[in-house]
């Protein structure tokens, strides 16, 4: 059973605030989903290795060079900034 306490734990991991109605909703939704997952327990996975991505080819790394276009500075997309820094609520009093 994916009870309300489990929903609260997972919401904390996912950093999402939930109210009581949300907790009940996700408890039922996740429970239904995990029932579906349970059916796949019938499959024999003995000696099978996980497959992380496919097709399996080596990743090509970029050269270790700084390549920043100052005109593409992403700071302008921030909800709050002073042109050089991202502004967030005070962390230390």
């Amino acid at each position: 059973m994916f009870d309300k306490n489990k929903v609260k734990d997972v919401a904390k991991l996912a950093m999402i605030e939930l109210n009581d109605d949300d907790i009940l909703f996700y408890s039922n939704e996740i429970e239904d989903f995990l029932k579906l997952v349970k059916e796949s327990e019938k499959i024999d996975l003995e000696n099978i290795k996980p497959l992380y991505h496919s097709p399996e080819m080596a990743l090509k790394a970029r050269t270790d060079e700084v390549d920043i276009d100052p005109k593409n500075d992403g700071i302008n997309s921030a909800p709050e900034h002073d042109g050089r820094h991202f502004i967030v609520p005070k962390v230390i009093d």
Binding site: D22, Y26, I48, P50, H53, K60, P89
Partner: protein
């Protein structure tokens, strides 16, 4: 002149002969959007000023004979492709005001050859959905029946092309999000081999599964677009750098067709499949037989376990990818947070919709200590079994035919209260993503006046074969030429 019905090649011909300019063509499609999109809601942003400027530039290139087949042709981009200084929302409140400082590689490549980006299309929030009902910007309607969903997550792109509001569009496919809406809207949609199209600038959902591709009226249009968007990109470390991809030429003959072996997986025609769809698919298989293709039954065992594996893997990757939405660097921020923790928790509560929150939480759970092996690793093992079953089948046949979706387009609201039922609608498309294979959906008939899609699945980098088979079929049939009645007018 019925410009709205024309293929890319026909439109390009009109531009080259100066029968019409790109500015006129762009205005024509922008007018169609103004007239019809209030019924569909397929666009989130219409780039009229930007598009007309680009069209004028394209006209200059055409006049100077510096053009490409696609120069001056309008296109709509799914709203998860980053477009520089143009709103890119990913269907979410979280990004409702986000204007990226750069273009996605797919957008840039098409921009560079002079295509005209007329707008950004609606989609399920963060591409998480099969019906386009999870968009913050509202439900998209199916041009074939306005009470039905267009499919998802690229539902806006599919609805826009089906209603001829844009000649062609881009989409992305993580678990069927190009093929299923193409199927529901009577279109042709290509999900390329994972790694063949750069993901740079595509807002990430599940990075090991996401793949961009074209949605068009025909295999020919999809091939023209695919030829331009594939290729190695140093900005995407998972981008293909080993396999050389030649430009696709559509030149399959009956003689060559008779050498192609097609497998029909019996497991895909079980009780899950609507009988009327099965009937239409088998009618199309008869056509393929007459065209010379060799058809044989095959088995793809264990594919019924794909849905749980897919949703665990996709949700796990989503929970990691979407951790970037914290209200600090870009996107939505909640009002007046008291401290940093409240900033994160409230921003994500208010910025994400229900389905996104659920998948992020399922992913966080599947990756958490104590459950990682039970869920995530198990799902990855199932992924290998699915992939290996495809590779075993490809020793015996060259391509696989399957239904794209177990049903035709369903009613708006029909599956929103039953998420598992909604997930099961992806049963025939998700195995292809887990394996990273290419697949195409083409229209092959109608059931209750709604389009039915056939899926053509190939081995890695076999897009040329897939598109040739589809084009050969479309040269001999007319399903892909049909336009929904309400939109079949100038």
């Amino acid at each position: 002149m019925e410009i709205y019905k024309k293929s890319i090649t026909e439109l390009s011909d009109l531009l080259n002969k100066k029968t019409i300019s790109s500015v006129e063509m762009t205005n024509y499609f922008l007018e169609r959007i103004k007239t019809h999109d209030s019924k569909l809601n397929s666009f989130i942003t219409i780039n009229d000023k930007f598009a007309l400027k680009r069209a004028a530039e394209a006209d200059k290139k055409i006049s100077n004979n510096e053009h490409h087949l696609l120069t001056g042709i309008p296109i709509a981009h799914k709203d998860l492709f980053s477009t520089k200084n143009i709103l890119t929302t990913c269907g979410s409140k979280m990004l409702k005001n986000y204007k990226p400082p750069f273009d996605a590689t797919v957008v840039k490549k098409l921009d560079d050859i002079g295509m005209v980006n007329i707008g950004k299309t609606n989609m399920d929030e963060f591409a998480m959905g099969s019906s386009n009902e999870s968009s913050y910007f509202g439900v998209v309607k199916n041009p074939w029946n306005l009470d039905k969903v267009p499919g998802g997550s690229s539902g806006g792109s599919a609805a826009a092309v089906a209603a001829c509001l844009s000649p062609v569009a881009t989409g992305s496919d993580t678990g069927g999000s190009i093929r299923q809406p193409a199927s529901f809207c009577g279109l042709t949609g290509l999900k390329p081999t994972y790694s063949s199209v750069s993901r740079y600038g595509m807002i990430a959902y599940a990075s090991s599964l996401d793949q961009g591709g074209p949605i068009g009226k025909s295999a020919e249009d999809c091939a023209i677009l695919y030829n331009e968007i594939n290729g190695y990109d140093p900005n995407d470390s998972t981008s293909n750098h080993e396999q050389k991809i030649e430009k696709i030429k559509l030149n399959l003959t009956k003689e060559n067709a008779s050498k192609i072996r097609i497998g029909i997986p019996l497991e895909y025609f079980s009780k899950n499949l609507d009988q009327s769809i099965s009937d239409e698919i088998f009618k199309s298989i008869d056509v393929f037989k007459k065209l010379g293709f060799k058809i044989k039954e095959i088995s793809l065992p264990n594919h019924n376990f794909t849905i749980p594996a897919y949703y665990i893997i996709a949700s796990a990757e989503a929970s990691s990818n979407l951790s970037r939405y914290d209200g600090v660097k870009f996107g939505y921020r909640c009002k007046d947070p008291k401290n940093l923790e409240e900033l994160y928790f409230k921003t994500r509560k208010e910025g994400f919709g229900k389905e996104v929150k659920k998948r992020v939480m399922i992913g966080a759970y599947a990756l958490s200590s104590g459950y990682y092996d039970e869920y995530y690793i198990r799902a990855l093992k199932i992924r290998r079994i699915i992939r290996d079953s495809f590779l075993a089948a490809f020793k015996d046949v060259d391509f696989i035919f399957a239904p794209t979706s177990p049903t035709t387009a369903f009613n708006i609201g029909e599956k929103t209260s039953n998420a598992v039922d909604m997930y099961l609608s992806d049963i025939y498309t998700t195995p292809v993503n887990l394996a990273g294979l290419p697949a195409l959906s083409i229209p092959v008939g109608y059931s209750n006046n709604l389009p039915v899609g056939l899926q053509i699945i190939g081995n890695y980098f076999s897009e040329s074969g897939i598109l040739n088979i589809a084009h050969f079929y479309q040269k001999n049939t007319e399903w892909h030429l049909k336009v929904p009645k309400e939109f079949d007018n100038e």
